[in-house]
Each structure stands twice: as structure tokens, then as C-alpha cells.
Amino acid sequence: MSTRLSTGGRLIDRSRKIAFTFNGKRLTGHPGDTLASALLASGQTIMGRSFKYHRPRGVVASGAEEPNALVNLGQGKTHEPNQRATTTELFDGLTATSQNHWPSLEWDIGEVNALLPRFLPAGFYYKTFIHPRAFWKHVFEPFIRQSAGLGKAPDPKQTDPDRYEHFYAHTDVVIAGGGIAGLQAALEAGRAGAKVILCEQTAHWGGRAPVDGVEIDGKPAEDWINDTVQVLEGMENVHLRLRTMVAGVYDHGYILAYERVADHAPAADTPRHRLWRIRTARVIAATGALERPLSFPGNDKPGVMLASAMRDYITNWGVSPGDRTVVVTNNDDAYRTALAIKAAGLDVPCIVDAREEADGPLVQEARARGIRVLTGMGIANVKGLRGVVAVQLCRQAGEGAVVEDIVCDAVAMSGGWSPVVHLWSHCGGKLTWDKAGAFFRPDHDRPPTDQTGEGFVVCAGAADGALHATDCLSNASTSARNMLVSMGKPAPEAEVAKATAAHEAPLAPIWVMPQGAGPKKRSKMWLDFQNDVKVSDVQLAAREGYESVEHTKRYTTLGMATDQGKLSNINGLAVLADALGEDIPRVGTTTFRPPYTPISMGAIAGEARGEIFQPLRRTPLHDWHVDHNAYMEPVGHWRRAYCYPQKGESHRDAVNREIDATRGGLGLLDASTLGKIIVKGPDAGRFMDMLYTNMMSSLKPGKCRYGLMCSENGFLMDDGVVARIDEDTFLCHTTTGGADRIHAHMEDWLQCEWWDWKVYTANVTEQWAQIGVVGPKSRAVLEKLGTDMDLSNAALPFMGWTAGKVGGFDMRIFRIAFAGELSFEVSVPASQGRALWDALHEAGQEFGVTAYGTEAMHVMRAEKGFIMIGDETDGTVIPQDLGLDWAISKKKEDYLGKRAQERSHMTDPTRWKLVGLETLDGSVIPDGSYAVAEGVNANGQGMTQGRVTSTYYSPTLKRGIAMGLVLNGPDRMGEVIEFNTTKKPAKGETPKTVKAKIVSPVFYDPEGEKQNV
């Protein structure tokens, strides 16, 4: 049973208590506690259940590598699953619940799985759920989904109340890790004058050194750490950041760092997380090392902990993990734990050392303190169901025959240390196997390289394999100095502080304990705690032919949990190598990928949520639309009014009313989103002739012409009205969605192909508010406002344009008619747009002025048979398909798309062509319908002979109208064809169709008399 010691705890403030709850139980801790230390201090040793077997699990580590103690943190809006108790700083009011248990943490039904481990071996799911095939979707998958997942997913109806942000920084050096190596590296880089960002993932500087009793320059490490931090704080060019984890290293020196700004103080008005997006020349990974577990039977039981974690809990938080702790090890470092336990006044019944000999200074000190040291021994079994009650010892060299039972309530294990090489590896740094230390460390000859081919990441201190404090500082200094030289910022000469700690004898690589353990024992040795992968699973995978470590990982799920194998990877691949009869370095590691530990989705999203999730583009008239109850639709990033429903009016009724009002009197359309691009220069005419399929160079100033633009593959990509401003200047109107794309298209051709043509373009889309003044009364309303222009048909005929003053506004007027009525498209500088819109409404009262939206616009253009990019075109349609041959110049030598349109497929007479469609019953053909034909194709699907491209109810004609592309359509006028519908046929009945007559696409005013008055 764990408890709080009466003294000690360098990180906690014993003078204050803070309250929190775990599974509804009210508990207390101290400021400075982590959730894990506070739970241990409260006697809560079981903190979660494992993924597959639902085994009870206690905390095994004290930091970022923790696989077991994952909790649901917070509730309701702030609920977040899979939070590591070891990295969760305790705060007042913290609420946590344990995961993966039912009905309770202590008594779990799923634990029955644990009794059946031989029925859940490696690859169980692959083997079991593969046949019969049909079972997967309806039987297996739902079952697996039920039992899958650790934490509870956040409630989708709740919205995270916190805010998040990104922060971009540019620097010379990013140092990951604020232990003594990171601090030393920062000193060097700081003195060299480099811009430095030093990140430490915890809330404290100095890392492990103070816990491990390291002395620096003859004083406790803590003194040197405080002094050094002070020195660094005084350097203008060094930026220190606590609670900030370097999550990933990417190409071109791009770094993501994850700052947990307010996790420890949730009430504060601060962003909760901040994602640092850093550009740096170099990275120093002073990320330390992680201790490895030992693989002995029952090593996953609550109360079995990493030796280093145990002394962390004692030294940092004044927490005793147990009264009697057995230490099991293959190295000298774990003896520090035994000494720390002793120093805290607790018992160490024995140290079980797998090595045949142990006689280093730490061993001698342990013996001197009266601790029994057993060499050549191992643990054969851990007794106890929900905790440790005893361990059974055996010879390490044997098969596990029990030689002695030791009563204890905790076990501290140490299988050696592995440098944290993740950041070195993210961008491709290679590793080398260090035989003496039994770990992978960075291969200095094969670093990750940047855009210049230079290595841009170095590891410093323990991360570079300099595990012992004595080597750590000097290694950090040398690594940093070499790196600074490589970037042309050599550090000035300076004395490196001398770190000292007890000498350590070499470890013995122990991957299985005892080494000769039989199948039963091997199936109780956990490698991956979170995913329940055991020694037996990896060995089975090897027997089944899995040789690649990457395949074994996926087959067994070793290292695939939220901790990404921080504890399990090296042990797992050592077991695999042994099973394959290979050397460890030949088997290699799995790939290290960012992030180092999981980062929040909130941090990734940053500020992009709610109102600023995406930029909404607003026209100068946007507020008017909103104030007038417009139903807005997205068009690109714009929001456009679809229609303006009045009280109790359906959208369809609103659209019909708007059309009737426009055709009967006066309608106003916000057309500001239309693209407007100026093309100017001596070669502008020639350029326009290439861009458009028709002749534009012959257009006279003061005139407009409708034009089509094709891609070089011949497909119709945009259309619009071009106005010639003067001899050198054209104004091209594009579709709303086409403005940026077409401008880029123009610049592409000008910059890459026709770089010697004298043409400049400018996208002036947003400079202008553009309003369609449409209907028989459109001229009257403009004249009523008062103008210095002659707007008569004679002075400003259809497809003419002019500029002048109307009602005091600086206006350009284009006589164009998308709706087929007398109409004037007028544009004024955006700043005048709203005032003009209001003035038109006021003056238009007597003409029944009505604002109309995009849907009314669509219906009216369809009544006129005008095509719409995106409806009649879909990237596979050429102008010839749409009967637009009149807009394709025969005289021009070339235009973009001309050559492509001559290809055989493009000139195929059986290409579907545009026609109008009139249903016989007056109904509206469903959107997306196909015209059915006789027979079936090779796949047994019904044949088709056309499809609908636009289909609407026409209030003008009081019937359904449609346009569509039909096989030989223009030659089949008057013929009736059938379109499929979505109406469900009665059983035995053939599917319902709707009959439509092929007609001209121009349904309304075919002679154009209305627009030409």
C-alpha cells in the first residue's frame, strides 16, 4: 500500500492542501503533486485497466513514458480521455475517472479475458475474425468496436470551452529538454550568441540529476541548476520555456512544440495549450533516457514500478510506494533506489541482481546499509491479485524453480536505460547499437540532414548515450560546441562544470527473467503494458514467420498504444531478435514518428474554431442580407444570399416571388462576388484572344462581349462578360469561384509561357460592389436617382457599357442581362456599395423593388437557356457540347484549348449535347437524373443516353424546366425520353421515370426582345 511520507518531497508544498476526485472519491494532495503522486499518496495503487485483458494496473513510471495510469480527465465540456496521471499536475478541483473498466475499477467483468490469455494470442483478431467473410461487418466489427478503445470519447454535443493558439517563432537553436545536459547546451549556445529556445516538458528545470544525487562542482546538482537557469534568464538571446514539449522535428528545421499553458491552472483566462511552430537552424535533443522494465512473470501488477520512478516518488513528492520493496535489477543504478528507500525509513528486504557479480560502489554502499544483495537471481513470480504480496525468487540462469519467497508490497525494477532518440530519428537520423550499455544511440555519422545536406539535430547528454552524470555534462558541452561550429557560431572557451556521481559497473543485458523460463512463465511477462503484449506473443509472431520488426509490431500491437512503446520497444525487439537468432542491431527498431507524446487536437486546431474556424468572405452588402433574413449559401469562402424568405414563406416560395417581382418590375442582385480582373498592355488584345475561345481583340472600347475560357485540355473552365475599357485595357468578369483561379491562370501563362508579352493583370474583384439592377423598371430607377449619362437604348445599347454619376455615385454601368430582362449591372467602389444599395431600394419602392438571391438568378438564367459553370460544366464538358460554337472563333489561329478540341474524342459526333427538357406532366426532373436507354452494359447496369445538368421549377412558365446533355440531342427536337427518379417503386413494379420532351434550351423570350429595350 502506498502512502505519503511524513517528510521529504522536493517538489511539493506541504503547507497547502488541494482537493480532487478520482472515480468520485474525494482525495487531497499538495501543490506540486502530479495526479499520480497524489493518488499514490492517497493509497490508490490501481489506476487503470489494461486494454485487452482488463488487468488491474498501477502507475509504472513517473513521467511522459507512463503506459498504465491513463485517466479520463475533467467532465462534461472539459472531458478528455487518455491523460497520463504522471504528467498531469494536480490542481484544485481536478476530476479524474479511470478507464477501460466495468462495472468498477476494482471489480471488472472484462478481467475474465485475463483468465483466457491463451485464447487471445498475438494476431488473435486477424486469425479469428477473417472467416466467414460476411461476418465481419455485422458480427465481428461491432463486437470489437464495443471492447476497443481505452478512454471515453468526448461527448460530441459538448463544446470545448477553452481556447488554443499557435505561435510562430524563428530561432537558431531549439533545445529539447531542460535537464543538466539541456542547460549546459543552452549555456554554450547562449554564450555563442545564438538565438536559443530551451523547452522543458515538465514544470521544473534540472531533470533527474537532483533525484539521482548528482553533485556538480562539489555542490548538489540543484544549486548548479538554479545558478545556470539564472544565468540563462539573464541572456537576451536565450528563451526558456517550461511545460513545453518538443513534439516533432520535421524537414527544413521545422519544429512543433506543445506548451501546456493552463492545464495546471484551468481557471485562468489563458489559452489552454499553445502550439509553437518554430523554424530553427539546429536542434539539440537533450531528451535524456528512459528506464526499461524487466520481463519477469507478473511484472505488470500494481506495485511493480520502474526503479527510477520509485525514487522520483520518494524524493520529489514524498510518497512511499510501499513499506517493503524488493529491488530487481541488471545494473548498478537501481541500487540508488534501494538507498533512497532506506533513507526514507522504509524496508528493502533484498536486492535481486541478475548479474553473477555486483561489487560497484553503490552495491557496496547498499551492503553497508545492511541490505541483502542476491546476485545471479531473478524473480520467478509476483504473488498477489490486485497488488503485490510477495515475490518468488529463482536463479536467473535457470527455468524458474522457486528458491525463496520474499514478502513485500512493492517491486522496483530496472532493466537498464535507453536514450530518448526520438527527435534525432524523426527526420531520419540513424542509430547504432551500443553493446556495452545495451541500447541504441545516435550514429553521429548518419544524422538527419537539412536542406543543405548538413546534419541539423544533435543529441546531448543521456540522449547521446552519456548516461552517467560524469559524462553527461561534458558530452552536452562537446555536442553543443561542435554543432555551434557547424553553424558558424563557435562558442567562446569556458570551463565546463564537473558532475560527479558514484561509479557504476556495466549492466548485464537481461531480456527475459529467468532466462530459461517456460511457456507458462513467458506468457506472464509483459513487454507492452498498455496493449497487453507479452514475451510469448512476440515469440509466437517470430515462430509464425514475422521477421521484420515493423510487421511484428503491427501483428502483436507491440508499441502501438498511446505511449508508442517508450517502455516496450527495446525489450520487445530484443526478444524478437533472440527468437529469430539474430543480433539486435540487425533486427533494428521501428520508426520513431512525431509527436513524442500525444498532443491535443485543440492545440493542432489553434485559433481556428467558432467564428474564425474559416474566413468568411463578406460583400459590402453582407450585413443588409443578414438583416433581411437572407438564407445564406456558401460559394467558395463567400456567403451569398440564396433567397430572402419572408415570414412564413418557404425558400421555394421566396424564390418564385423574387423572380416574379424581377420579371414584373424591379429586382436587385448582389453580384459583388463576381471576379473582376484588369488586363492591360500593348499585348492585351493578343493575350485575350489566347485566353478566350472567341475574338476579344476586335471588341470596341465601350462594348461588352460574353466569352468562354478553356483549359489547355479544351475543357470549359470559366465564362463571363469582358468589357473593353480602352485600347490597352480589358476588364474580365469571371465566375465567383473563378476569380482567384483565373487570375492565377492568367499569371501562370504570362509568367511561364508568354513572359515577353507586355501585359499586366490586376485582380480588382473586391474594389467594386456590383449590383444587378434587373427588370422592366431598371432604367427607370437609375434615371430616378439622377444621372449625367444617357441610359437610353440608343445611347447605351445591349452589351454596351459606360461610366458616370448616378445619384452622386461613381458608377460603371454594363448593359448585360443574365436574367433575360432589361437590366443594368452597375458597379461602384466597395465603400459606396451599401449606400447605393439602400438608395436603389428607396428609389425602387414605387417599382416594387425586390432583392433576389442566387437561386432566383439561377432559375432566371435557366429560363433563358444560359449555362452556368459548375452546372452545365463539370470539367469534362467542352463549349461545343453546349452548343456554344458561336462563341468559338474560326478565324483565330490559336486559343487555349483549340488544339485539344480537335482531338478525335472531342470531335466525336456522339458526345452528349445540350438541349432543353420539358416534362410532359409539368413536374421538375430530379437533380442528377439520367436519361435511360435500352439494354444493360457489361456490368449489368442500365444504359443511359443523357443527364440533367440544371433543373428548376419556372414560376414564369409555371412548369418544370431543365437543361441536359443528351445523345444526339439537338437532332432529336420534339422526341420524348425518360429520366430516372428517386421514387421508390412498389414491389414488382419497374422503377418510376419521368417523361420529358427534348426542346430548345431557351424557354423564355427566345428572340431577346425583353432585354433589348
Binding site: D269, P620, W768, P829, Q832, R834, A835
Partner: protein, 189 residues
């Protein structure tokens, strides 16, 4: 008429770590021309020297900003923009160029406050280097403001200008206001 002429977000203001303020209408002219041959015309019309890459140079009642190897942005009073276009067109008579009034296509914000907080706030929305040595007063940086295009320059260490397209003025203002919220201090710059 003049009281009916509106900028994108008239009077919009937000206070926090820094102050953000929409500056109302201002004159802007895009000039595309061979910069190496337009120095005299620029000097004649604006009184400004031809700015080097990414620089802004001051003229008489206006500023000239370098936008790209063949594009300048001239900032002046809103009322003067049309005349500016006409003057440039006249001064560049016979020379291939494009001068166009884009005043209303944009929105302009003043962001002011303590230098460090100012640069920190901006560093939350732009990937460009906001440090004082990377973007000193007198230089304009075209960049992105999270999801939209924009440009930033410093009038002084305590006052910056942010420019964006008119249609996304609200987005840009909201971004700036969110980034300047109290409690979000970074302390980096």
C-alpha cells in the same frame, strides 16, 4: 455622399495585450511596371524613392511599398487615390504599366502597444519572422494571416499596420482580437 462611404469595419476596436483599430478608408494604388525604369515617375508623382525589395519608402503625404519585382503599392489619402492613378498614368505615358485604384479592396488595421506584446500578438497569426531585426520599421512583409493573405509593417516599435482584403476584414479583426486577449501573453519577443 461622404458620410455614406464606408470602410469594411467602421470604428471596430479591440483592447487587450495590444490595441486593434480599423483605420477607416485609406487610399491604395497598385502599380505594375518595370521598377528599374519607373524611378523617375515614382519620384515625380509621390516624392518617394523607389523602394528596394520588401521596403516602404515615404513620399509627400504617401508611402510607396514594394510588393513584388514588378509591383508597388502606393498608400495615400482615400480621396487622392484616383488622382494618384491619373498622375502615375500620365507620368508613365508611353511606358507599359498598369495603375489601378484598389483602395476599397482592402482593409487596414492599426495594432499598437508595447513592442514585445505587439510582435508576440502578430506572431500568433503569421508564419513570418516578427522579430525586430527581421522586420524593422520601413519594411513590409507580405504573408498570410492564418488562413488569409495579408501584409504587415511597423510604423514604429509600438505601432504596426496590418492590411488584408476587405471581404475578410472581420476574420482578420477577430483573429487579431483573439490573439491579443489578456492572459495570452507569450513573452517571447
Amino acid at each position: 455622399m461622404s458620410d455614406l462611404v464606408k470602410s469594411a469595419l467602421p470604428g471596430a476596436r479591440a483592447e487587450g495585450l495590444v490595441s486593434i483599430e480599423e483605420m477607416g478608408l485609406s487610399g491604395m494604388v497598385t502599380l505594375r511596371v518595370d521598377l528599374s525604369a519607373a524611378g523617375a515617375a515614382i519620384a515625380q508623382v509621390t516624392g518617394a524613392d523607389m523602394p528596394g525589395p520588401r521596403a516602404i519608402s515615404a513620399g509627400q503625404g504617401c508611402h510607396v511599398a514594394w510588393m513584388s519585382p514588378d509591383e508597388l503599392l502606393i498608400l495615400c489619402d482615400h480621396a487622392r487615390a484616383d488622382a494618384m492613378v491619373a498622375d502615375l498614368t500620365a507620368a508613365l505615358e508611353g511606358q507599359h504599366h498598369l495603375a489601378v485604384n484598389v483602395s476599397d479592396a482592402r482593409a487596414l488595421f492599426r495594432v499598437s502597444g508595447p513592442g514585445g506584446a505587439l510582435r508576440d500578438t502578430l506572431a500568433k497569426i503569421t508564419p513570418a519572422d516578427m522579430s525586430a531585426d527581421a522586420l524593422p520599421p520601413g519594411e513590409m512583409r507580405r504573408t498570410r494571416l492564418q488562413q488569409v493573405a495579408g501584409a504587415i509593417w511597423f510604423e514604429s516599435e509600438t505601432e504596426a499596420r496590418v492590411i488584408c482584403f476587405r471581404s475578410v476584414a472581420r476574420y482578420t479583426f477577430d483573429l487579431l482580437a483573439m490573439s491579443a486577449k489578456p492572459g495570452g501573453a507569450v513573452g517571447y519577443h
